[in-house]
């Protein structure tokens, strides 16, 4: 399975299985080659290794070719705050553009292959290829939209909805909308809790409840979705903001 995926992950963009996920659709062959030429593919990051650390000078943005990355920042008190989980095809590192310095750290949750895209060269290419420039803006915009969605989650949803939403989102991303088989969560309960603004215990309890309700199958980090509808219901369910009937007059 993993090897099958790996086989189609060529080291060059034109053959890469993910090119439709991390590159604009209608890029002509020449442009694709020029883009491919600036991409750097270093050897894989081992589990726990850092791609970059908060404070590092910003040089590149990154795309996950295989594996899973978590990004996190530190509050002034030195507590970690997980800012995102990135899977194959996902792009991260945009936080660094602003002050030319990363504000997050990025760490491999499992052995991961990345494509590094030096930003200065990308900018040059963007000037020459309007299509690519537009796509780069779209990627940054996507990051913004994702973060706003997450604010909705943290601001308005009860704990169970948050956990359900994360599971739903993760399973869909990891299986490309084919949420049947068993998947392995690469992140710890601590990471999940931190990401959702909850305590580990709460996350654990909610997962146990989802298991008891027959919505998921679960052992450790292995999850299997049993009831998509059930999980969806939990994700939307909002005990924190009850449905309030209003009188028509």
């Amino acid at each position: 399975m993993d090897s099958a995926i790996a086989l189609s992950l060529s080291t060059h963009c034109p053959q890469c299985a993910l090119k439709n996920r991390c590159l604009p659709q209608h890029l002509d062959a020449t442009a694709l080659l020029r883009f491919d030429a600036i991409v750097q593919r270093s050897r894989p990051l081992r589990q726990g290794a850092h791609c970059f650390n908060a404070g590092d000078p910003f040089r590149s943005i990154y795309v996950v070719r295989q594996g899973a990355i978590k990004t996190y920042s530190m509050t002034e008190e030195g507590e970690e705050q997980v800012t995102g989980f990135y899977l194959a095809g996902d792009c991260f590192g945009f936080d660094g553009i602003h002050i030319q310095r990363h504000t997050n750290s990025a760490k491999a949750l499992e052995r991961s292959h990345l494509c590094e895209i030096p930003f200065e060269q990308l900018e040059q290419l963007c000037s020459a290829i309007p299509h690519l420039q537009h796509y780069a803006f779209q990627l940054a915009s996507h990051q913004i939209v994702l973060e706003q969605k997450r604010m909705q989650l943290m601001g308005k949803r009860a704990a169970d909805a948050r956990v359900a939403y994360l599971l739903l989102d993760y399973i869909q991303r990891a299986t490309h909308g084919n949420p049947q088989g068993e998947i392995l969560l690469p992140m710890s309960r601590y990471d999940i809790a931190n990401y959702l603004g909850l305590s580990v215990e709460t996350v654990s309890r909610i997962l146990s409840r989802l298991l008891a309700q027959g919505i998921i199958d679960l052992q450790g980090r292995r999850v299997k979705l049993l009831s998509l509808a059930g999980l969806r219901a939990q994700a939307h369910m909002d005990t924190a903001a009850p449905v309030r009937l209003l009188f028509p007059g």
Copy 2:
């Protein structure tokens, strides 16, 4: 005061008092003129008027010349979620680039003057002026960083710290780091609560407490900072989430 500011807000970039806040520093005169040529300055938005609505096709990003804008999105259940408050010099609308359609609505909290920057033309200009392209990426990146900061706030901070942080941030932005005088909050308590993921009552109570503690002076939406140190202490204080480092693995 307001009139004094207004006087220096020319309708054209080269003379605008805010040009150092919304444009890159080292833009040569020609580039500045070319940029100025694409900016549209329509008549002011009256209080409560919308700049755009969620779902509208994306055409432009906007800069606040004067006034205050709030952006908000809707959850699937139809609840509002405030995503940001924007003051003079601030730029908003980046959420729309991703799918060519706004995901937020933007509404004037008070009578506001905006500069509209048609995005297609901006992109063309960016291709020709590398400096401007870089700056546009920086702006988008800044938005990302701001939202990540807010996640820290919602994920890790207790209610009082959130309110204190908002006040601190708002006062500093509204006074340009001269946090002495009295300022007028343009947003309702509901907006503040919604933005921070709290209930109105909680926000009100915490403001009252800050007043009782002599940290701020407060009547309605009029606020005056009395103790910067005190407010800072409240903003950092973190009763809700104990210091707990995530595991190194």
